[in-house]
Structures are given as C-alpha cells and as structure tokens.
C-alpha cells in the first residue's frame, strides 16, 4: 500500500520519541558541565611530563633531555634544550635534565608518538581537555612548569599503565643498586688484594656514574 513505508517510519520515530522519556538506551545525553563523562583509561589529549613527587616537580622530572621525542614528534611541537649540568634522576644516576621543555599544544596532534618512543617513561598523555583560552601565545605554549605533573596524577588517570611503569622503574632501580653494590664489592676485593685499603674508602666509593649507559646517546640521525 502506498504510504505504508512512511507510516512504518513514523512508527520508528514515535517509538524513539516515547522511548526518550524512559528508556535508558535512548537517553543518551551527557549533561556535560555538571556531569563529566567518564573518560576511558586510554584516553589521551596532550602530553605532560612526569615528576616523581609533587613538592619538587622541577627537581624530580623523569625527563633526561635526550630529545628523542623532539625528533620523532610528527608535527614538531616539542622544543627541548639540554641543561649544562647534571643531577641525579629517579634511579640515582646523574643525568642531564631539560633546561627548556616547551610544547606548543596549539600544534600538537595528540598522536602519542612521543610517549611511545620515550625510553624513560618521562612523558605521558594527559586527559585534561578543558583548556580553551582567549590567547594562544600565552595560553597554549606550555613550558616545563606547566607540563610537570606528579606521578600520583599519572596513577590517577592511567592506573594500569602507571603501575606497570612503577614496577619496571623499581626493578631497574633495584638492579642498578645491586650492580652498584656488586661493583663496590668487586672494587673492595680488588683493593684488598694487593694492599689492605681502608674499608671506609671502599664502602663510600660509588660506582662511576654512567649517565649514558642506557640513555641512547644519539638517536639515529633523522
């Protein structure tokens, strides 16, 4: 019958209309500013830098300014300048740190490649998207102070990932300590063999800090 298709279609819209008053499947609206959507753990927006603790974010940044992310970033929105001096990192090794670390989030395309290539788990993806601003030159150019967020925040937004990273770092730290101990013991033994050296000296002798032992010195030339 001509018109039956139309009527059936109207039936569908009527069903949806009525359903939108009681059926949870049809009540899809999120009341955004009042009710925040629960973001999935994997959600990514812009990168941030992980620091070990919240009280001294600049002192405990995991980033060692190796500049791999800077080279791999497809839209080239990261700018890093290495520091002149070194300071101990999370595992106690002396490392460089970023004197300047800028990300222009008005260019960033949230592709997560910086996170994937970072060998130090120093850069991770943030989930904060409410950063609309009226001035892009000051509001969207994030320096390292704006980028640094503590590890606890990382745990908050990506719990699984953060736990895995922490486990790995703890294992690395332990391995480094054991290696240091073994090296110290070997040195002490070596020192003890030809002539008895003061025990205190052997005990305090730290293994030579090897900042670039595992840090890739030069990323493959682009």
């Amino acid at each position: 019958m001509l018109g039956s298709g139309l009527l059936q279609g109207l039936g569908v819209t009527a069903k949806n209309f009525v359903g939108s008053f009681h059926d949870p499947a049809r009540l899809t609206t999120t009341e955004y500013p009042e009710v925040k959507t629960k973001l999935p753990e994997a959600y990514r927006n812009f990168p941030f830098l992980v620091s070990e603790n919240a009280t001294d974010p600049m002192g405990t940044l995991r980033c060692v300014a190796c500049q791999i992310c800077e080279k791999e970033c497809p839209p080239q929105c990261i700018f890093i300048e290495k520091s002149k001096d070194k300071k101990p990192d999370a595992t106690g090794k002396l490392q460089l740190f970023p004197a300047v670390f800028d990300i222009d989030v008005s260019v960033c395309m949230s592709c997560q490649i910086c996170v994937e290539v970072c060998p130090f788990d120093a850069i991770k993806m943030d989930q904060d998207f409410e950063i609309a601003t009226t001035d892009r030159f000051t509001g969207l150019m994030l320096d390292k102070h704006a980028l640094a967020k503590p590890n606890s925040y990382f745990h908050e937004i990506h719990p699984t990932d953060a736990a895995e990273v922490d486990g790995r770092l703890a294992a690395e730290r332990k391995a480094a300590e054991e290696k240091a101990k073994a090296a110290a013991a070997a040195k002490a033994a070596l020192a003890a063999a030809p002539k008895p050296a003061p025990a205190a000296l052997a005990a305090t002798a730290k293994p030579p800090a090897a900042p670039s032992a595992e840090a890739p010195k030069t990323p493959p030339a682009a």
């Binding site: 800077e70 080239q76 700018f79 800028d102 030159f137 150019m141 682009a222």
Partner: protein, 223 residues
C-alpha cells in the same frame, strides 16, 4: 598474470620500434614496471586495456615523481698489472657524472575483469624544465582525468591530449609546482615557538636582531 618481461616482449612484437624497457624494483614487493617512450605510449595503453590476456581495464592510481638532477660518484675498481712484474695493484677510479633530472608519471593498472594486477607503467619527461610533456592517458582510462590534472598542478608535467588540463588543487594564479623537490615556499615563519632543522633556519630570520648593547657604546652612538 604475465611477468613484466613477458608483457614487454609481447608489446615489442606488437609495436616494433617502440621504446619499452623493464624497470626492476629492488624492494621486497618486486612490483616491476614498464618504462614507455612517449611515441607509442597511448597505443600501448590501449593495447593493454583491450588485450584478451591482460584486460587492464582499471587505471587505479596515477603518481607524479620528481627526480631532480643528481650528482653520482661511481667507484670502479680495476686491477692494474705492475709493469715491474710485481703483484697486480687494485686502483679505484672515481668518476663523477650528473644524472639528468626528469619528471616521472607512474600508472598502476589492474584488471577488474580478470582480477589481476598491478601492471605498472612509467612515463618520463625529457627534463624538468622545457621538455616536460608526456602523452595523456585520459582518453584510454577516464580515471586519469583528475589525477593527471593533479600531477600537472603539483609537478608541472604537461599531458598532451588531456581534455581539460587546468590546475586542480591550487588556485589558477599560482605559479609554482609545490611538490617538486626544489620548491621554495613563501616565508611565514614569524611565530615558530618550537622550531627544528629547516624551520629553525627560516624562523631565525624573524628573531630579534642582536641588541645594540652588544656593540660598544661609543660606536653605537655614532650616526
């Protein structure tokens, strides 16, 4: 499907005197291609489309490639017998030659009827400036129409026999061919907060000049 060599042999039998050669692809994919001379290109394309064994009825993809002039240093080793009767010496000869540049158009052909492919055709221009003409294959496959226009727009290859050869992506008044390797883009690098490499060099032109304070005051004060 026949291999590139077989197709070439068959084509040579069909078109005696045509310039056809096989360009081997050294990569893993081993999609070899046929380099055609301009004179017979369209006839060969029609033959490939209509041949019962090939029936390449679909031209899937048209690609422009820019090969600028390249300086190639070839090292050839030759053994020179010692005139004094000693052991022969190995001498390395370095020859420099300039490989002339050209623009290349690559066509990927498939057969929908026989479900095989790709057969890859290549056409090359004489050089990158005044002899940048190749025959258009749009009369053979409609699919080439917009893609050849795009190659014309971005690379400057002129397709002879194209029904409507105009710029397609850039505006008509635009003069350059931006996909060429030597294209220089206009300078708009005044705000580059995170520059690297080539961008850094271009952005530096917009950095403030070294301050006058660096110059000795007496000289700076002089008009």
């Amino acid at each position: 499907m026949e291999s590139a060599e077989q197709i070439r042999d068959r084509l040579l039998a069909q078109f005696p005197g045509a310039e056809i050669s096989v360009v081997t692809n050294p990569g893993v994919a081993a999609q070899h291609s046929l380099l055609l001379g301009a004179a017979h290109a369209r006839a060969i394309a029609e033959f490939l489309r209509d041949d019962a064994n090939l029936k390449l009825d679909q031209c899937s993809n048209v690609t422009g490639i820019d090969w600028p002039e390249k300086e190639i240093i070839e090292t050839t080793k030759s053994t020179v017998p010692d005139p004094a009767g000693g052991p022969a010496k190995v001498v390395e000869l370095k020859t420099k030659r300039i490989q002339p540049g050209c623009l290349e158009v690559v066509y990927h052909l498939y057969s929908i009827a026989l479900r095989h492919g790709p057969v890859v055709l290549r056409l090359r221009t004489g050089n990158r400036t005044d002899q940048s003409t190749v025959p258009s294959l749009t009369p053979v496959w409609r699919a080439c129409e917009f893609q050849e226009r795009e190659v014309f727009d971005l690379y400057g290859v002129v397709f002879e026999g194209h029904p409507d050869l105009r710029r397609i992506l850039m505006w008509d008044a635009f003069k350059d061919h931006p996909m060429r390797r030597d294209y220089v883009e206009p300078d708009d690098y005044e705000w580059e907060p995170t520059p690297h490499g080539a961008v850094l060099e271009k952005a530096k032109a917009h950095y403030p000049a070294p301050s006058v304070a660096a110059v000795p005051a007496a000289e700076g004060a002089k008009p």
